[in-house]
């Protein structure tokens, strides 16, 4: 199944070069792939995996390992950031 994977701010560095222009990458993953498994696959530093959204909805840290993605889901991740 296909899901969209997005990394922003300092995490953009963990995307392949061609994906950095859009901060976005389409992934072909087996059914049942979890949020935690996708994150592990990109070797993201745990301290930088702060704001994790699936289709814009926040996923609590404790839920990430067990949260299965579905076809068409958008997984977006930010390090600790803020603004005003």
């Amino acid at each position: 199944m296909r899901v969209t994977f997005k990394l922003y701010a300092m995490l953009s560095d963990y995307l392949p070069d061609e994906a950095r222009k859009t901060n976005s990458l389409t992934l072909d993953v087996p059914p049942g792939r979890t949020v935690g498994q996708v994150i592990d696959g990109f070797n993201l530093p745990p301290k930088l995996v702060h704001l994790v959204l699936v289709n814009g909805n926040y996923i609590q840290p404790a839920e990430r390992a067990g949260r299965a993605l579905a076809e068409g889901d958008v997984l977006a991740i930010w390090p600790p950031i803020a603004g005003g």
Binding site: M10, L53, G56, G83
Partner: protein, 615 residues
């Protein structure tokens, strides 16, 4: 004590400048800056005063930590009755002007009356005099800065001035200092213009003395700086990406008001984001962002310094816009961009420059253009009236209307009144995205419910900087709460409002609160100032300030009916994103908020609440 204990009172009608002692009893109750200046305004003016009349007063005010070694201790505020809202106005700015004012030996300047001709205040330590500014009238803030420094032969003078917007009666004109920083909201620059006061120029070499316990202050400020440095947001995120890092976040969570809040997600958001500012342009191979920048004493340095492509259509014939300048912050990128459907990063940077050089609040200006574009889309406004074609997405219209508004030309004169008056005039009051007449900023209350309550109850009209619940609801600071529910938001908003009022009265920047709490601020204040400043006392001072501002607004004629959101947010559900199908639950939250505040069902502080707070 870190207070200078001295006020400068400038009577513009008589042309006099006089020193008087700071009311130290009030300083113990209201701390400084926002709280203390508001106390002076309340005591000295009629709340029903016409904001643009000589009877209104304008106060430039520092906090006890302004000009000290506390991190971000460079803040000052401009306090007055606002012409856009008819409510209390208090606009906070960074840069270097505030610290210079304090280092000249002054806590605040109270301007009263109206000068018969344009003047500027020249302040060199304890020497204060009004000087003729006839030759500066009609000039931009950038030109004023250059001319005053040249006239005094001193590049280290710090200047706060109004541009042409403030002269031309733009009701959301701001006071710009240090070229790119601004006391931005509620039209404090229009009040300054109404008094024929073009600028305040300060050179301060006295410094800030009288720190109560210097060793303790050194220890407390060093510890607090370490907290900022060690925090991922204030130590890394803000310096590198600035506030603009929010553009993609807020779009992703479906809370980015787009095309005058018709939508909550903008397809062009990434093109105008922090990430885009870091990328090299294909046209000239350079990035929009050159570097970050810090205000006085700041160890965060969230400011943006940008440069546009010299060959961009918007500046190819305007060399004055070719240099490095204050870049886009999140609010400006949203208000000039997403609110109007414009995703041209360089054009937005130029629009922001125009707002800086001519002294206009880009939030209200941009949001007003959103209303103009919607009325154009509906056929209510035609090209013949506006002067340009103004469809959503037109960067050309945005820039031309920015010039027209600042200069008071043609339809720009009407845009300068803000969207409330404009939409009412053309029979579409529901298209004004305002609370108390002030445009709301970059967070849609349908997708972040707490911000709806923040806007509705903000004492200076819709504003995000009165209780930034986005920190909790979206970013998880200090704890994550659900942005889509109303439960618990009354308590959350009150806590943010009170803490923010205390920070705004201290001389430090509200952005420290991504890492600091009042527990980090209290030891710094306690070491600097007499009086025993604890976390609990600061929270109480914040609550006292909030209720004082509320009482002022009620006396000015505002009522509970003004604690409301635009109809669109209550009746038109979000079309996409996590909030799809939701409207704001403001009607449920308001009664809960009044109860939490200790106010009557009509939104009036009860006698018990007023007594408890010493009001």
């Amino acid at each position: 004590m870190a207070w200078a204990k001295k006020i400068l009172r400038v009577n513009l009608t008589k042309g006099t400048c006089a020193s008087e002692p700071l009311n130290m009893e009030w300083a113990q109750q209201y701390l400084g800056q926002r709280g203390l200046a508001t106390k002076y305004l309340v005591a000295e003016t009629d709340p029903k005063v016409d904001p643009l009349s000589p009877e209104n007063k304008l106060i430039m005010t520092t906090g006890p930590l302004t000009g000290t070694m506390a991190s971000t201790g460079g803040r000052y505020s401009v306090v007055t009755k606002g012409p856009l809202t008819g409510a209390i106005a208090c606009s906070n700015s960074g840069g270097y002007f505030g610290a210079e004012l304090k280092m000249a030996g002054w806590d605040m300047i109270i301007f009263e009356g109206k000068s018969p001709k344009p003047v500027y205040l020249w302040l060199e330590n304890d020497k204060a005099e009004l000087r003729d500014a006839t030759h500066l009238w009609g000039k931009t803030t950038w030109d004023v800065e250059e001319e005053i420094k040249k006239a005094h032969q001193d590049p280290q003078i710090r200047i706060a001035s109004i541009g042409r917007a403030g002269e031309n009666g733009v009701l959301y004109a701001c006071v710009v200092n240090d070229l790119h920083r601004a006391a931005g909201r509620s039209g404090v620059g229009a009040v300054m213009g109404s008094k024929n006061l073009k600028a305040v120029a300060v050179r301060g070499t006295v410094g800030v003395s009288g720190i109560k316990d210097f060793k303790a202050f050194l220890k407390a400020t060093t510890a607090a700086k370490k907290v900022l440095a060690d925090n991922a947001v204030t130590g890394q995120g803000l310096p590198k990406f600035g506030t603009q890092v929010l553009m993609n976040v807020i779009n992703e969570v479906g809370a980015l008001p787009t095309r005058n809040a018709q939508d909550v997600q903008f397809e062009g958001a990434r093109n105008i984001s922090a990430e885009a500012m870091h990328e090299k342009r294909p046209t000239d191979g350079k990035a929009n962002l050159i570097t970050n920048a810090a205000c006085f004493g700041c160890t965060i340095a969230c400011g943006r310094v940008s440069q546009v492509d010299k060959n961009h259509w918007s500046v190819v014939n305007s060399p004055k816009y070719w240099g490095a300048t204050g870049g886009l912050e999140y609010e400006n990128a949203w208000s000039l961009g997403a609110a109007n459907g414009v995703d041209d990063l360089d054009a937005l940077t130029v629009a922001n420059m125009i707002c800086n050089e001519d002294g206009m609040d880009p939030i209200t200006f941009g949001a007003t253009i959103g209303a103009v574009m919607e009325m154009y889309q509906m056929g209510v406004l035609k090209k013949e009236q506006i002067g340009v074609e103004a469809p959503f997405g037109s960067a050309q219209a945005l820039l031309e209307l920015a010039h027209m508004t600042a200069e008071g030309r043609g339809f720009g004169k009407e845009i300068g009144l803000g969207s409330k008056r404009l939409c009412e005039k053309y029979g579409k009051p529901e298209l004004s995205m305002t609370v108390k007449g002030q445009e709301f900023p970059a967070y849609d209350p349908r997708g972040i419910q707490g911000m709806g309550l923040t806007y509705a109850t903000s004492n200076r009209g819709a504003c995000h900087l009165r209780s930034y619940t986005v920190a909790s609801e979206i970013l998880g600071v200090p704890v994550k709460t659900d942005p889509l529910v109303t439960d618990g938001k009354a308590d959350l908003v009150k806590a943010f409002q009170d803490a923010t009022a205390a920070f705004d009265s201290s001389g430090t920047c509200i952005f420290t609160t991504f890492a600091w709490t009042l527990a980090d601020l209290a030891p710094q204040l306690d070491a600097a100032c007499e009086g025993g400043w604890t976390l609990e006392r600061l929270a109480e001072v914040g609550e006292r300030i909030w209720n004082m501002e509320r009482q002022y607004n009620l006396a000015a004629g505002l009522t509970a009916k003004d604690d409301d959101l635009p109809k669109r947010l209550k009746t038109e559900p979000a079309k996409s994103g996590p909030a799809k199908g939701l409207v704001s639950g403001i009607d449920k939250m308001i009664p809960e908020y009044y109860k939490v505040r200790g106010w009557s069902t009509d939104g009036v502080p009860t006698k018990e609440t007023a007594k408890r707070l010493g009001l």
